[in-house]
């Protein structure tokens, strides 16, 4: 088994080393913010959730044991927190576009990976809109599996660990969610709807 590079850092946090926590924060902040964004569709709310998640991790450092990968443990905390907050009604799952303005304010320059030309920006906006609409319509577990896979680039095995599910179940969840999102991204392809989605 490959040693978890984050385990030593987390053990140091457990011993009281806050600098190691800062390293872990820098390593995972982007993933967690983007993960949270797919739940609340708003940059500032996503950062609020990310803040709660990291502070939960910090507070739980004393009870952390390097049995599971740090990353899967972190995302388990993140998914539980996002789902709980949504269920409590503190946040609204509206999945606004990354590139749309919020409350009349200009978009904050937080973007990365975006194309520079107008065509690319337009394509990016369309993709975000379609993705947001598709995610909002997905069942909770499909959305979670999809987000971990497509947004955070996690392997099926790790997603299964985060979700407490079998790899077979994750495979099925990701397939259904990907088909649903793909149909949104290519409306003209609706007639090519794969039969598996109907089952």
């Amino acid at each position: 088994m490959t040693p978890d590079p984050d385990a030593e850092l987390m053990l140091a946090v457990k011993r009281g080393d806050d600098r190691s926590f800062a390293v872990l924060f820098d390593r995972y902040a982007r993933s967690i913010v983007n993960f949270a964004f797919r739940y609340v569709g708003d940059r500032s709310l996503a950062e609020e959730l990310a803040q709660d998640i990291f502070l939960k991790v910090y507070k739980s450092a004393g009870s952390w044991e390097p049995k599971a990968k740090f990353r899967t443990w972190l995302f388990r905390i993140a998914s539980n927190h996002c789902l709980n907050e949504l269920r409590r009604g503190r946040y609204r799952s509206d999945h606004a576009s990354l590139t749309e303005e919020t409350d009349g304010e200009a978009p904050t320059p937080l973007r990365a990976d975006a194309g520079t030309g107008p065509d690319e920006q337009l394509a990016g906006r369309e993709l975000e809109r379609a993705l947001g609409t598709a995610l909002a319509a997905l069942p909770e577990r499909e959305r979670l599996a999809f987000t971990l896979c497509r947004i955070d680039g996690m392997a099926y095995r790790d997603i299964a660990e985060v979700m407490g599910a079998t790899e077979a179940a994750v495979k099925s969840l990701i397939h259904r969610a990907t088909v649903a999102v793909a149909l949104r991204l290519a409306p003209a392809a609706g007639e090519m709807r794969p039969a598996a989605r109907d089952s």
């Binding site: 009281g16 806050d18 926590f21 800062a22 924060f25 820098d26 902040a29 982007r30 913010v33 983007n34 964004f37 940059r43 996503a46 950062e47 990310a50 803040q51 990291f54 502070l55 910090y58 507070k59 450092a61 004393g62 009870s63 990354l98 590139t99 904050t108 937080l110 973007r111 990365a112 990976d113 975006a114 990016g124 993709l127 975000e128 993705l131 896979c149 497509r150 947004i151 392997a155 099926y156 495979k171 099925s172 990701i174 397939h175 990907t178 088909v179 999102v181 793909a182 149909l183 991204l185 290519a186 392809a189 007639e191 090519m192 709807r193 794969p194 039969a195 598996a196």
Partner: protein, 161 residues
């Protein structure tokens, strides 16, 4: 329009994600070559997966980093806060007292003084052992934020005295 169907379409996404074993992959590729339904689904899914992989990501703000790291002070685990409290309130003064007592008694070197030194050293050792035991404590299950807050109030009570 009639949509062709195939019971193996479920494996297509895992295939495109590189999540099939070598044997599964070879078998699926063979199937894919002759299946219209899976071919059609592939034409839908493959470009979508590529577009999603290239979708933009947010960069966390510097303010988030500042907020999280700045809040650590107020979110220390219970065992750590207790340890810090004890270190500040008891260990440092106890250590200083022990050192002072030892210095005085070494100078006098009287038999009675020797006994006093032994008693002082023994009591300080006990204090250190108690502290060591406390430092091993973790947050007990069911510990609430109020419990932690109450423990932290000890600090204020000591100051009030």
């Amino acid at each position: 329009m009639t949509t062709p169907t195939c019971e193996r379409t479920d494996a297509l996404t895992a295939y495109l994600d590189g999540e099939l074993s070598a044997d599964e992959r070879a078998a699926f590729e063979q199937h894919l070559a002759g299946c219209a339904a899976c071919g059609q689904a592939q034409a839908l899914l493959e470009p979508a997966i590529a577009r999603l992989a290239a979708a933009e990501r947010l960069e966390p703000s510097a303010d988030l980093r500042r907020r999280v790291l700045g809040a650590l002070e107020h979110h220390r685990p219970f065992s750590r806060r207790l340890r810090e409290l004890l270190t500040a309130r008891f260990l440092v003064p106890a250590g200083a007292f022990a050192a002072a007592a030892a210095a005085v008694l070494v100078v006098t070197t009287a038999p009675r003084g020797q006994r006093t030194l032994e008693i002082d050293v023994a009591s300080n050792l006990e204090l250190f052992e108690d502290y060591d035991l406390l430092s091993q404590l973790d947050v007990p299950p069911g510990t609430t934020a109020e419990d932690v807050e109450a423990a932290m109030r000890l600090d204020e009570l000591l100051e009030a005295r």
